[in-house]
Symmetry: C2
Subunit: 345 residues, 2 copies
């Protein structure tokens, strides 16, 4: 069961050539006769040779490993990012080593150490620690990913275009007659928060609306937090119809539960708009209208950019990928003749 596995020397022996020739044949190098190449390939087949990537990595410096450090692989958004990354990494003939930091700075630091010790060729990283930055990171090709990516403009980064997404959201609400939505935002401490608020402020300022008067609730990114935040919004805000814009789909789904529990109807009395585009939004009643982040694409393009870094090729060093409106049924159109709402299913 634990037999020694054949090496390139075994192949060479079997083929009756030197290990150099065997290596050349196996690597598809130029200067080998076709005859020799065939013999070697045949021999490799017979002995069941499989290239030892550890040895390759050690000698050539190319380990074939790419590191991905994210908060949580089981979170729908990050799972999608990972999937996109995995597909591209495979296309480049590399393998993906994944780490979940669970939003813990300590684990992130530990993972970063592990990933470096594994001699990965490059790292894709979503930082939990917003502020601090270890200089030692930059001696390995690195791409920052996610919404906080653009906060490191000196580092290559790829993330969703929060500004464009927020604009899309606000514009959609605006056109449907929701001119001053209540907001459920993420923890103030997180990097994305500032960007959201700035984008919102800008949108309404352009229309002469002072968004600082808006009703805002802060909540962690869970549906429970969204539920309670919405309860508070609903109770202190008797105006109907009302619109709630949540910066995460889980928050939005929590809001929908709160609306139902309060005996209100969505979207007739309270509209809800989410931001993420996770699959669960399809199953609520009504299905959740949301701004969809290009999660899988983020993973794919991050790998492309990282490979460019690894191979020292010039390329875009900063990429903001556009969000898309996923129109389902949770936002009412107040513009249409009142009574029956025009709600896209």
């Amino acid at each position: 069961m634990r037999a020694k596995r054949p090496t390139i020397i075994d192949v060479a022996k079997e083929a009756g050539v030197s290990k150099s020739t065997a290596a050349r044949a196996l690597n598809g190098a130029e200067n080998v006769t076709d005859a020799a190449r065939q013999t070697v390939l045949k021999a490799a087949e017979t002995v069941g040779y499989e290239r030892n990537h550890l040895a390759v990595g050690m000698r050539s410096g190319r380990s074939g490993l790419i590191g991905l450090v994210i908060p949580d692989i089981s979170h729908p958004f990050w799972a999608d990012v990972a999937r996109g990354a995995q597909d591209r990494v495979e296309a480049y003939g590399r393998s993906l080593v994944i780490f979940s930091s669970d939003w813990s700075i300590d684990r992130e630091v530990a993972h970063l150490r592990s990933v470096r010790q594994a001699r990965v060729e490059g790292i894709m990283l979503n930082r939990v620690a917003d502020r601090t930055f270890d200089d030692r990171l930059t001696d390995i090709p690195l791409v920052m990913i996610g919404s906080s990516a653009a906060m490191f403009p000196d580092l290559p980064n790829v993330g969703s275009n929060i500004d464009q997404g927020v604009r899309l959201a606000c514009d959609y609400l605006w056109r449907r007659g929701h001119k001053s939505p209540s907001l459920i935002v993420g923890p103030h401490a997180r990097l994305a928060h500032g960007r959201f608020m700035a984008a919102i402020e800008r949108f309404y300022a352009e229309r002469g609306v002072d968004s600082s008067q808006f009703d805002v609730e802060e909540a962690t990114y869970t549906d429970e937090a969204g539920y309670h935040a919405s309860k508070r919004i609903l109770s202190r805000n008797p105006r109907r119809p009302l619109a709630i814009f949540a910066v995460s789909d889980l928050l939005a789904l929590g809001a929908m539960m709160a609306i139902r529990d309060t005996g209100l109807s969505c979207p007739e009395e309270v509209s809800v708009l989410g931001f993420d585009g996770i699959a669960a939004g399809r199953f609520s009643v009504p299905p959740l209208t949301a701004i969809q982040k290009p999660s899988r694409l983020i993973g794919e393009r991050a790998v492309d950019m990282l490979i460019e870094e690894i191979e020292d090729r010039p390329g875009d060093r900063s990429l903001s990928l556009d969000c898309v409106l996923q129109e389902r049924g949770s936002v009412a159109d107040l513009g249409s003749k009142s009574g029956r709402m025009s709600v896209v299913a």
Copy 2:
């Protein structure tokens, strides 16, 4: 940016000892004086030493890498499994290399080759290809995971206890008065299918009911497929109240959409029971009652078992982890005095 990284020899030089002593100190071996150890540790710190895992793996045969080959990392169930695996792998000081085969046999085979070339210490595998089996697999420690795992009794395996889960489901339905539910099952070709059907048959046989008369629809594991399967069930089955038992939550959620579209009410007229326990089930109306598979635990225990295999320690070679009933609101209790249903929220 791409400076040569310090080796153990640099550390030894800095500390004024031989590389052997440096290695012993860094590995926490016995026979080193405390003074020497301190000096070496200090020196490692100064030069910024990070152990090269490629070299370690090559010399010692322990690469520190564990392979995980699953159908899709972005699927909620598998993402949970991966998360559990990741946590345990980390506890053992290893790293996780993840591959998504996307339910393609070709990609699975390719991944298996990659994972072997990476010289992983062991592999956790959920097979897409149900029948064929390459003998060469067994020369590396291997643990089969998922519901098909128990189909390879000669191989170490860990998965959810389908029999117990189905029994839990059928018993719950039975006690609530649903004696002959309609079924939405997965593709016949998949391994799990046979186990589901056998478990269902056994449960009802024990109660003198011939389950072969049940209304059964086959569908791929998507909500669309569940939707259409349910439409067919509802149209050919006018009996109300009716119960639909789906072998996957996505199928069940699709069923709930079909019920709503047909103008029926859930659970009053049609009850729905799912099988998975994914997060999206919380957001449907009513929230989905489902049998929850121990997804994360499967990942964790698979790693434990794999490490036992790697270290050649005896241990359980087959593990069926119990499912749990997640009672929410999609199954009516026909036993309670008719009219108002007693539905647990």
